[in-house]
């Protein structure tokens, strides 16, 4: 009897979560990009049948991106082996000029060997961000002062080669983590502030659908 009650409570709670996660129409869709795993083009529909956690960022992002991927690494570690097989964690770069597939692979694998980085042409990235109603904008080449980045004493380089090699850019970008179901529909927007327990419960609901 107690077992039946517990199962009923569990089903009601899962149903309640599913109700909280309607399809967010107009967010997401089909696209192609270069995977850090293979260096080859991959269609997003290839991930159908898996629950996807997708976020945007870039490897030279010093604060929020490593923190977001660290958060996802922490969340991923709490899943069971079976659940891990059912999800894919994807990071789409907004800096395709710097983030080559090889570069992204090194960055992603630092957090988890199963995490996937996606890159492509500037047009590809624009298309993906448009699909997900995400935004990004280049703030500046780090070496050029802007309205926000000013009065900085630059480090002195020993030579021009070192200076040239160090050129990189800053971006502002969307911080949401898109929770996407097995059919490719975006169901929820999460953040690094989401309690991992609650996030995992949502992932489990989508795995069980």
């Amino acid at each position: 009897m107690l077992k039946k009650i517990l199962i009923t409570i569990l089903l009601i709670s899962k149903f309640s979560f599913a109700q909280e996660m309607p399809i967010l129409s107009g967010i997401g869709g089909e696209f192609s990009a270069i995977s850090s795993m293979t260096g080859k083009e991959i269609k997003f529909s290839k991930f159908k049948g898996k629950v996807v956690l997708l976020s945007f960022g870039y490897t030279n992002c010093s604060d929020i991106c490593p923190f977001t991927l660290g958060y996802l690494q922490h969340l991923y570690a709490k899943l069971t082996a079976k659940e891990k097989q059912q999800i894919r964690i994807i990071f789409v770069t907004v800096d395709p000029e710097y983030d080559t597939p090889k570069h992204l692979k090194e960055f992603m694998q630092h957090f988890n060997k199963n995490f996937i980085g996606l890159t492509g042409s500037k047009q590809t990235i624009k298309k993906i961000t448009d699909l997900f109603q995400a935004e990004y904008s280049k703030l500046a080449e780090i070496s050029i002062p802007t309205e926000y980045i000013r009065r900085v004493n630059q480090k002195t380089f020993n030579n021009e080669v070192e200076k040239k090699a160090d050129k990189s850019s800053l971006f502002s970008h969307t911080v949401a983590i898109y929770l996407i179901d097995k059919m490719g529909n975006t169901r929820s927007l999460e953040y690094t502030g989401t309690a991992t327990k609650k996030f995992i419960e949502k992932i489990q609901v989508l795995i069980d659908e």
């Binding site: 604060d63 660290g70 630092h110 926000y148 000013r150 480090k155 502002s172 970008h173 949401a176």
Partner: protein, 142 residues
């Protein structure tokens, strides 16, 4: 003789002032996160003003990197970085640098800086305090 005593007293007072002013600011628990293949890094930690008067952080610098005090601000689902050229810390208060908030942003990092980076914090009253900050490759979660 009086001249020697006066000079000695002045030197003593100067040393006393320097020691005390340096103690007025306490810099704790700093670490730098530098993932592989990234050219920029963030520094986190706590700066405590233990004196009985306000002090102002007027500069951060390093021989091994360009350093800025940044603040991540999230507006309308977008992360933006705002540069602060100075930061006032009231008496008894702290400046907490943590992910998605205030942080040191390091760019143009020397390849020789693999395990730690020396950062100079310059305060209006307390002067320059230099600390060696360890480099970690990722955030630590419990």
């Amino acid at each position: 003789m009086n001249k020697i005593i006066t000079i000695g007293l002045l030197i003593f007072l100067a040393i006393f002032y320097v020691i005390n002013s340096q103690k007025s600011i306490q810099i704790e628990g700093f670490y730098i996160v530098l993932p592989p293949s990234s050219k920029s890094a963030s520094g986190y930690g706590i700066i405590k003003n233990k004196s009985n008067k306000p002090d102002v952080l007027i500069g951060v610098s390093s021989d091994d990197a360009t350093v800025m005090l940044h603040q991540t601000q999230i507006h309308s689902n977008m992360a933006n970085m705002v540069h602060h050229s100075k930061f006032s810390i009231n008496a008894g208060n702290s400046l907490i640098l943590r992910p998605m908030s205030y942080h040191l942003m390091l760019t143009h990092i020397s390849k020789s800086a693999r395990h730690s980076i020396k950062i100079k914090f310059e305060f209006k009253n307390a002067g320059i305090i230099e600390i060696k900050i360890p480099i970690l490759d990722s955030h630590k979660y419990n």
